[in-house]
């Protein structure tokens, strides 16, 4: 037990954020964090209101628990998708493994403490969501206070089951890939798996016709519960949880605890047999067979500083599994999400219908396309976190930037170009297909590319700028340079504000009867001005921030 606690503490420390120092920076961070909270708190509150509303609407027909269950399932899926990579990394690919293997600690201990540290570090958001859902539900059902006390265990432990799933899948993947000699291939299999799950999730969601917001209450009231039935089997703890605190049902509570204990038991049992073997196998694997090196040396060619620096950044992003999953892949799977949203909200607009509307010059559809392009172009470069981790990715070798004879001006511009290029390609491959499918007028298309260009550029410069102020340099695992990096959250906050400003503002102007062409011009003007503004700040501030950075 002692081993377990101290290991957990150590892992948690490695996962936690670095300290902020310097008065100026504290003020800056305080400001940024409050912006962030202003965005996340409404989101969390919205979830509570959603549960409240649904419960209120459905409790008369006897389906009062559905609102809460639905939210519970969504939280569980969310946890599963986002924890998978974290757990796989923490169990198999973190740097500490080679130090741990020789220690006289049972492998189950290592697994248990790694799991706990992930659980604690990853679940603040989920915790808040469960909390507001419980409140929303209790308010609607008018549950008395003692019931809330009953819900405490569940509030704290709800994400255990989805995370156990992640862990078990990781164990299996790693055991069944033992025969593969190349470590990087195994990681890629892990990545492929995440993709597969995302795709399945996407397809599953899109087949949910009844999830249409106008009709969901009705369809649930009519007893159309296919989605719920499947989910109740996959995540049995949710229903038990609701039951236990709605009626202060002791048996349901015991069952809830039992389900969790069994899940953990299965996981630790499997870990006992599978973990050590696959980990040892992994650390003995070589990464690449050797070729004829002398010939390679002969083929060395000089490149300009800019190209060479740029290629280096790309190589690191593409080769490191953590960066590849979080920074690169996301640019090419966003259409899955877009498709889901389209299915859920606009499923009565078929492609053929939209095409006709576009050729008729329907303003509403053009506005929809414009706002979508703006939205994706703003959110994707924030979501892929390349820009906001530009300096953090350098880690404890940040000082490299300073001792090479390369102007900081060149270095930060490369760091802007990298996320810009990747995001621009990621956004516009798909929009181009979309434009062609819809036969968009050429002029409108050009305007859209132009707007997309500036949205992405703006967010990328902003990201690099934010990350230059207080980069997260102390990390031992590449994944941590992204996950424990405030700056990626902060950029997301800014991006959401910008998104609200441009899309919300655009829609508002449209409802006030402003012409679409004027909205486009206005958007372009705002974007160009903002970009110039941020660029001018960056030209002075980023080099200064690099110079002042003394942490590594």
């Amino acid at each position: 037990m002692n081993n377990y606690l101290s290991l957990t503490k150590v892992f948690l420390k490695a996962l936690s954020m670095s300290k902020v120092n310097g008065k100026k920076k504290i003020i800056f961070y305080f400001f940024l964090l409050s912006v962030l909270f202003l965005i996340f708190i409404p989101f969390i509150l919205f979830c509570g209101v959603f549960v409240y509303g649904m419960t209120n609407a459905l409790k008369e027909v006897g389906y009062g628990t559905i609102g809460f269950e639905l939210m519970g399932f969504l939280i569980s899926i969310f946890t599963f998708v986002f924890s998978f990579n974290v757990i796989l990394n923490q169990l198999y690919f973190s740097d500490d493994i080679e130090c741990l293997l020789p220690l006289p600690i049972k492998p189950v201990m290592i697994v248990a403490s790694k799991f706990t540290s992930c659980f604690v570090a990853e679940n603040i958001m989920q915790f808040l969501l469960v909390l507001v859902s419980v409140f929303g539900y209790s308010l609607a059902m008018q549950l008395p206070l003692p019931n809330l006390l009953f819900s405490l265990i569940g509030i704290v432990t709800l994400p255990i089951i989805p995370m156990v799933y992640c862990s078990i899948i990781s164990l299996f993947i790693m055991s069944f890939t033992k025969f593969i000699k190349n470590k990087e291939t195994i990681r890629k299999i892990g990545i492929f798996f995440v993709l597969l799950i995302l795709l399945l999730f996407g397809v599953g969601m899109s087949t949910l016709q009844q999830f249409n917001f106008d009709t969901y209450v009705e369809s649930f009231a009519l007893g159309n519960h296919k989605f719920l039935e499947v989910m109740r089997v996959i995540f049995p703890h949710i229903s038990l949880f609701v039951k236990s605190f709605t009626n202060m049902d002791v048996i349901a509570s015991i069952e809830y605890v039992l389900v969790n204990v069994v899940a953990l038991g299965v996981f630790f049992g499997l870990a006992h047999f599978l973990y050590l073997d696959s980990v040892i196998e992994l650390s003995s694997k070589d990464t690449k067979p050797s070729g004829d090196t002398l010939k390679l040396i002969e083929n060395s060619h000089s490149k300009s500083i800019f190209t060479s620096y740029f290629t280096k950044e790309l190589k690191i992003l593409f080769r490191s599994p953590a960066f590849f999953i979080n920074c690169i892949l996301i640019n090419f799977i966003w259409p899955v999400f877009a498709y889901v949203i389209y299915k859920v909200t606009l499923s009565d607009y078929s492609l053929a219908k939209m095409r006709i509307l576009v050729s008729d010059g329907n303003v509403k559809v053009s506005l929809f396309i414009l706002l979508t392009v703006i939205g994706v172009s703003i959110l994707l470069p924030a979501l892929n976190s390349i820009a906001a981790s530009s300096f953090s990715r350098e880690g404890k070798h940040f000082s490299f930037l300073k001792y090479i004879p390369v102007r900081y001006r060149i270095q930060w511009r490369v760091k802007v170009l990298v996320p810009f290029m990747i995001s621009f390609i990621g956004v516009n491959i798909f929009t181009t297909i979309f434009y062609m499918l819809l036969n968009i007028p050429i002029l409108f298309g050009i305007e859209l590319y132009f707007i997309s260009f500036f949205c992405i550029l703006l967010v990328c410069i902003l990201g690099v700028y934010v990350d230059s102020i207080q980069p997260k340099l102390i990390w031992d695992d590449e994944a941590n340079s992204l996950r424990e990096n405030y700056n990626t959250f902060m950029l997301m906050g800014f991006a959401l504000l910008l998104f609200g400003l441009l899309c919300g503002g655009g829609y508002f102007l449209y409802t006030k009867g402003i012409l679409l062409s004027n909205i486009i011009v206005l958007n372009i003007i705002i974007l160009v001005c903002l970009t110039l503004f941020i660029w001018n700040i960056s030209v002075v501030s980023i080099p200064n921030n690099i110079i002042e950075q003394e942490e590594a």
């Binding site: 990464t287 090196t293 390679l296 060619h301």
Partner: protein, 241 residues
Amino acid sequence: MIEIKNVSKTFNGEIKAIQDLSLTISPGEIVGFIGLNGAGKTTLIKMMTGILRPDSGTITINGYDIVKEGLKAKQIIGYISDSPDMFLRLTGLEFINFIADMYHVSDDVRKERIKYFAEQFNLVDALDKPMQSYSHGTRQKMMVIAALVHNPEVWILDEPLIGLDPKSALILKNMMKEHAKEGNTVFFSTHVLEIAEKLCDKVAIIDHGKIVFFGTLEDLKKKYHKKDDLEKLFMEVIQDE
């Protein structure tokens, strides 16, 4: 030629890492920089290479001020940092080529130098593998090649011999000697006294951010009337202050 004039550096407003330090290292000299852990060696070296800015004072490298004419100064410095695990996702060769690009090394020169170093250090087979798969010593050798691939005039090496096997350490030591003999400057830090004794023309001893002795080993022995035991000598110098 390295000229350090009245340099001070304080961290977080309280830790005085370097205090009003002055030191001049002439061309053709190998200078060993000796001190206990935490004495300030790395801090001074980081200021010499442009990584940290001195709070006050100036540092010039062959006449170029490291703050005001940073690019020119950095171009002629070969620097080995105290931790060798950088750019692990690149192969050794990609890493060296990348560094060579940063210093504008021409094709022919880089090929010749990479081949020369790789053979010297017995690295030819490792070059096309990711540096992630290297042992600590191999990574350190790669850092040596990266630092020297542009044939810098001034070498500033932070604990360069740590992790090297005896043979590679010997090769590097010989390179240092040769480089100094050609009229260049070699400045390296170490906490191993024997290395300093065998290799250096002069030693600079640092303690609590101040130079407490700078001169030849002969001078040192004369000053403290001790003939042979360098360790005792060293302790005495430090306690003297």
